[in-house]
């Protein structure tokens, strides 16, 4: 039995690898909100038989696959504007009920993008003063109230500057909100002591992660798993 090899999919693109790794943090029974952008792609990596409920803040639980334009229902989108489909057991509701779910502790996990994350869990992902200020939409409540807040981001910005910092320089989305960060280089937890390295992307060294991180990185005593 032990020599039966399971087929192993190893995506080469580091972002896809990050997304696939993040998907493994979604466990049976969870209610999950996936933010616009990279987090939405997590859907593609969830096992078909995983009992999980996806929520979108514009008013739906039980999100099914995205549809091509020809098959789209003009009245059925997710918060990012993608045309989605229902599954068996979906429910539609208004914005009031949708955020009641978020604020009252019924949202087990949200996955969000980030401009900056501080070592105390502060999150900045909605505003760059003078450059980008379109409003936060539902991000403030998602970040402040989901039971578990996970960030997915490249480890550094386009210029190579670290996004994981001692303190955020941008206006905050929420204070002390982030629990875990998935990047193209590592999995890092926000602990009371600061950033703790948990896993490394395949081919990335601890030294590289330290160099790309703008705050102290707590290293484990044991071997660091790769993803």
């Amino acid at each position: 039995m032990s020599d039966v090899k399971l087929p192993e999919v190893k995506p080469i693109d580091p972002r896809t690898r990050m997304v696939a790794r993040a998907a493994r943090d979604i466990t049976p029974g969870m209610v999950v909100n996936l933010g616009i952008g990279l987090p939405t792609k997590v859907i593609n990596h969830l096992p078909a038989d995983l009992p999980v409920c996806l929520h979108t803040e514009n008013g739906m639980t039980g999100i099914g696959p995205t549809l091509p334009y020809e098959k789209a229902d003009r009245n059925l989108i997710d918060a990012g504007g993608a045309y989605v489909s229902p599954v068996s057991g979906s429910a539609y509701f208004d914005s009031v009920v949708s955020f009641a779910l978020v604020r009252s502790g019924r949202l087990d996990l949200t996955m969000l993008g980030a401009f900056e994350v501080a070592q105390n869990g502060d999150l900045a992902n909605w505003k760059i003063p003078g450059k980008f200020s379109p409003g936060a939409g539902g991000a403030i409540e998602l970040a402040q109230k989901a039971r578990r807040v996970v960030v997915m981001t490249t480890h550094t910005d386009r210029k190579g500057n670290p996004k994981l910092l001692e303190r955020c320089s941008l206006p905050l989305t929420a204070e002390r909100a982030v629990d875990r960060i998935f990047t193209d280089m590592a999995v890092i937890d926000v602990t009371p002591e600061g950033f703790a390295l948990r896993e490394l992307a395949e081919g990335v060294s601890v030294t590289e992660v330290i160099a790309a991180t703008g705050a102290k990185l707590i290293l484990p005593d044991t071997d660091i798993p790769t993803f």
């Binding site: 049976p28 029974g29 209610v31 859907i43 969830l46 096992p47 078909a48 038989d49 995983l50 009992p51 999980v52 409920c53 996806l54 929520h55 739906m60 639980t61 039980g62 229902p86 599954v87 068996s88 057991g89 979906s90 429910a91 539609y92 509701f93 009031v96 009920v97 955020f99 009641a100 779910l101 978020v102 604020r103 009252s104 502790g105 019924r106 109230k145």
Partner: protein, 230 residues
């Protein structure tokens, strides 16, 4: 992905209620009262309960059984008008009763289900229901702070449910059930019909299953649920 299955038995669902729990109980008169969950709670005998309900049902019906069996320490209601037993227990100081204006009870529970710590309202100002309540000035007007009411458990009666816990209600059996079904740590719903996943349309769902923890299909609709000939 598929949606989680939360269907279980009456016994197992009610066994999750601990002694001392605060329990929201749906219903306005007979319609919407979860009589089967209440009877199972009486059978299991959990004690020192705080019940939150619009009314105390009538003598010999619904939560009156829990009052009679001495399982209830405190009742938060809008009126006891139909239950002389409850009034007598209150008058004899065998039951602590807190009265709340009906719509404010609904709002406090809704706030609990919406993650809103409190609402400000002028309802009850000038009456004894305002006594002892925190007052806040807004635009020079005094308003009462009515804190959210979130409970350990909610006992809900639905007409139809699916195994994920999506719920739909019948006629005026809605009443306090939809807000209560969002406002507790453990939300237990009994349903007259448990339909296969997909048979409740997404448009028809009134309480999304994400708020609900346990769903129980009623084996029978007992006389408790019937028309009361007074």
């Amino acid at each position: 992905m598929k949606l989680p299955d939360k269907s279980t038995s009456l016994e197992a669902a009610v066994a999750r209620i601990p002694d001392g729990a605060t329990v929201l109980v749906g219903g306005f008169g007979v319609p919407g009262t979860p009589f089967s969950l209440i009877r199972e709670l009486q059978r299991q005998g959990q004690k020192d309960l705080t019940l939150v309900k619009n009314d105390a049902n009538e003598a010999g019906m619904g939560i009156d059984h829990l009052l009679a069996s001495g399982q209830v320490k405190k009742l938060i209601v809008t009126h006891l008008g139909l239950n002389a037993n409850a009034i007598a227990m209150m008058n004899d100081a065998r039951l602590e009763v807190e009265f709340c204006a009906q719509g404010i009870l609904a709002e406090r529970i809704r706030a609990g289900g919406a993650g809103i710590p409190a609402i400000l309202t002028d309802i009850g100002i000038g009456t004894e229901l305002a006594l002892g309540k925190q007052v806040v000035e807004m635009n020079g007007k005094p308003l009462l702070v009515e804190p959210a009411l979130r409970a350990d458990v909610a006992l809900i009666h639905a007409d139809r449910a699916d195994p994920f816990g999506n719920l739909a209600y019948a006629a005026t059996a809605r009443n306090f059930n939809p807000p209560m079904a969002m406002a507790a740590t453990i939300v237990i719903a009994e349903a007259e019909r448990l339909l296969p996943l997909g048979d409740l349309s997404p448009e028809e769902v009134e309480t999304p299953g994400a708020f609900v923890d346990q769903v129980v299909e009623l084996p029978e609709i007992s006389e408790d649920y019937g028309v009361v000939r007074r």
